[in-house]
């Protein structure tokens, strides 16, 4: 099963390689990893998506917790969370089919951020499902280039 871990770390050089190194050394698989500063510039947050059973995830969390720069590890897989990925996608788009693509973009509420002679760049944010759906819908037109981030996530506030 895939787990989402939110890891708070000290914002220091080397932290990312340290965390990534821990995963490769102990043979855990990272599906995705996103790192960025938090509201406190001294602290970064790494959002990790890890594949593994309960036992593996427990080991991952414990090993992460042992690292000097790691402040807190939270498994938010079963929390109510908002999660987002960012997608940039360059799709072949001759004038003849531009309208069709733009309609799809409309339906998914994403945006066209660049218009070239024969292609468009589509920008989208959303959870994994939405991103996958957009890719699926645009694939028939010919995807020339695709780049996406891993996921960032935040636990929802209490109502």
């Amino acid at each position: 099963m895939r787990h989402t871990l939110a890891v708070l770390v000290e914002n220091q050089p080397g932290v990312l390689s340290h965390v990534a190194g821990l995963f490769s050394r102990r043979g855990y698989n990272i599906d995705s990893l996103v790192v960025g500063e938090t509201e406190d510039p001294g602290i970064s947050r790494i959002t990790l998506v890890v594949e593994g059973d309960e036992k593996v995830i427990e080991q991952v969390s414990k090993q992460l917790n042992k690292q000097v720069e790691v402040i807190k590890v939270n498994d938010i897989t079963n929390e109510k969370i908002v999660e987002r990925q960012l997608l940039l996608l360059k799709v072949a788009a001759d004038t003849a089919i531009r309208m069709e693509i733009m309609q799809i973009v409309e339906i998914f509420r994403c945006r066209i951020v660049d218009i070239g002679k024969r292609s468009l760049i589509v920008e989208a944010t959303g959870d994994e499902e939405k991103i996958e759906a957009i890719i699926r819908s645009l694939r028939p037109f010919g995807i020339q280039e695709l780049v996406r981030t891993g996921k960032v996530a935040m636990v929802r506030g209490t109502k």
């Binding site: 390689s17 050394r25 917790n65 000097v68």
Partner: protein, 567 residues
């Protein structure tokens, strides 16, 4: 004050006595200051020697070992020693010089990213990039190395930080203190353990290096006396409790004492304290004691359920745990009825004693047994890695505190000689015995110079079987006697080699000579190398073939002439 002066002052204030190290361009400034301080520097002949010596010193004293090395090759020569300390949880602080701040990242002369290289084999590695941070980094490094589960820490310091000056009284010394073990839930776990012990008919106590790290000897002694529980140890736990204690069955694992392994296989409750269930003990972890209740106590939560699943994991310091359990027992005036279990174990011991053939040729076991008899259980015993290491674990009964020094987790050949140097500095008044092999000793043989220079009274037993015995044994047993690259067709003359270093050398070739020469060696002041020409074909038994369980031992059993599986 400059950075070097601050660093030296820091170690002085921490009560450090010895620095083990080797100079070079990027620490020249540091050595200049060191030479004028009260700290004593032990000049090794190779940085690996320095780091193992610091490790040996830490193991026999319980204080962190400190070593210095220069940048690049000096630093990379520490790597094996750091990994060795990491796997055996030895507190160690390695200070390495680095190229100047402006030169970092340009593949400068003798530049190596030692922080990156050592990150996976330290508790933490630091690089000091700002002299203002030096006090805080050193304090934190010390703290990390010595608290919780101890381990090595590396601090990489660019040369201009050593020479730079700053008003250190104005810099911050604040550090983030490390998270101690979680205390919530502890009481509940303790009461579960009490209950499990009460229910058990065949409880067994298994001790690892964590007992020693926690200095829990007294609590342990009381616990064993009160409960009468039989005790086994891992290799790292050897020495946690005197071997002569009648409750002690000895070491478990691949080359464990037969009765200890059989007890492990038969117990209904395993109380494992400060162990990490290494594959040398468990064989295939999935098959390990699947119908035994396992209680696993460790200060490092990541050890629990890492290798084997345990019914009752307890995150706790070993000493505190034992105290809590004893409080529980005393409150309930708990008594124990283990006679039936103990007599079953007694049967194991009678039926499967540890045997070897003393007749005819000189056996390594014989040299070890005789030395143990003559030197006594209080000697500080250091080993290298191989068959001789296992023979020492099997045949040298120990009774002192922190008097067994061996490379357990990494199994580092070449550890013994320099580790004995550290032990000799840490315990200057005691008998230091090193048992090494003709393979291992040649991996750091240059340290004979360090021993000679300091006239360290180490008795170096080289059990010379003209081969890499442990590997040869595997080739004999598991590779159809194809001895690929394990027989030394050439060896130096160890006697003349020792003498070239100015070290007294003796040789034992026949069993009859052993006693006299061992006595002579032990009565000689200063270092002595005793070359023992031992039987090449001798193997370590029992042996659990890789992946086997504790009851699947191969050995030569009482009354039998050849090797067979037990039972």
């Amino acid at each position: 004050m400059n950075g070097a002066q601050y660093l030296i002052k820091f170690f002085e204030n921490k009560g450090v006595e010895y620095i083990f190290g080797y100079p070079g361009g990027k620490v020249i400034f540091l050595y200049d200051v060191l030479g004028k301080s009260t700290l004593k520097h032990v000049l090794a002949r190779h940085e690996q020697g320095a780091v193992h010596a610091a490790d040996g010193y830490a193991r026999v004293t319980g204080k962190p070992g400190v070593c210095f090395a220069t940048s690049g090759p000096g630093a990379t020569n520490l790597v094996t020693g750091i990994a060795n300390a990491y796997l055996d949880s030895v507190p160690l602080i390695a200070i390495t010089g680095q190229v100047g701040l402006a030169d970092i990242g340009r593949d400068s002369f003798q530049e190596a990213d030692i922080m990156g290289i050592t990150m996976p084999i330290t508790k933490h590695s630091y690089m000091v990039k700002d002299i203002e941070l030096l006090p805080a980094v050193l304090e934190e490094a010390w703290n990390v190395a010595t608290t919780g589960r101890p381990g090595p820490v590396l601090v990489d310091i660019p040369s201009d930080i050593f020479s730079g000056t700053v008003d250190f009284s104005a810099t911050t010394h604040n550090i983030t203190t490390r998270k101690g073990p979680r205390k919530n839930g502890l009481e509940e776990q303790i009461s579960k353990v009490l209950e499990a012990i009460k229910m058990a008919k065949k409880p067994l106590l298994m001790l690892g290096g964590g007992i020693i790290a926690s200095r829990a000897w007294e609590q342990l002694e009381e616990f064993v006396k009160y409960t009468g529980m039989p005790v086994v140890t891992t290799l790292m736990g050897k020495g946690a409790i005197p071997d002569k204690n009648t409750n002690v069955l000895g070491m478990v694992g691949m080359h464990g004492i037969p009765a200890a392994n059989l007890a492990l296989n038969s117990c209904d409750l395993l109380l494992a304290i400060g162990v990490r269930f290494s594959d040398r003990v468990t064989g295939k972890p999935e098959n390990f004691l699947f119908d035994t209740t396992i209680v696993h106590v460790d200060i490092d939560p990541a050890e629990l359920c890492k290798n084997v699943n345990t019914e009752i994991p307890v995150v706790c310091d070993a000493g505190r745990f034992l105290t809590a359990i004893m409080t529980g027992f005393k409150k309930e005036k708990q008594t124990f009825q283990l006679d039936e279990w103990l007599s079953q174990i007694n049967e194991f011991e009678k039926k499967y004693p540890l045997l070897y053939d003393k007749e005819k040729t000189l056996k390594p076991q014989y040299v070890i047994e005789e030395t143990a008899r003559i030197a006594g259980e209080k000697a500080v015993v250091v080993t290298d890695v191989g068959q001789h290491q296992m023979f020492v674990a099997q045949f040298f009964p120990l009774g002192g505190i922190r008097n067994f020094v061996t490379s357990g987790g990494l199994g580092t050949m070449g550890f013994g000689l320099p580790a004995a140097i550290g032990a000799a500095f840490g315990r200057p008044k005691e008998n230091i015995l090193l048992f090494s092999g003709d393979g291992s000793i040649q991996m750091n043989i240059q340290e004979l110079a360090t021993i000679a220079q300091n006239n360290l009274p180490i008795k170096i037993f080289v059990l010379n079987n003209s081969c890499l015995g442990m590997v040869r044994q595997w080739q004999e047993l598991f590779f159809k006697e194809h001895y690929a690259q394990t027989i030394f067709t050439y060896n130096p003359d160890f006697i003349r080699l020792a003498e070239a270093y100015g070290i007294t050398a003796l040789r034992i070739s026949e069993p009859e000579e052993a006693k006299g020469i061992i006595v002579q060696a032990l009565n000689t002041e200063g270092p002595v190398l005793i070359e023992c020409i031992v039987d090449q074909s001798e193997n370590v038994f029992p042996i659990i073939p890789p992946g086997g369980g504790p009851h699947e031992m191969l050995g030569r059993w009482q009354g039998e002439t050849h090797i067979s599986r037990i039972g």
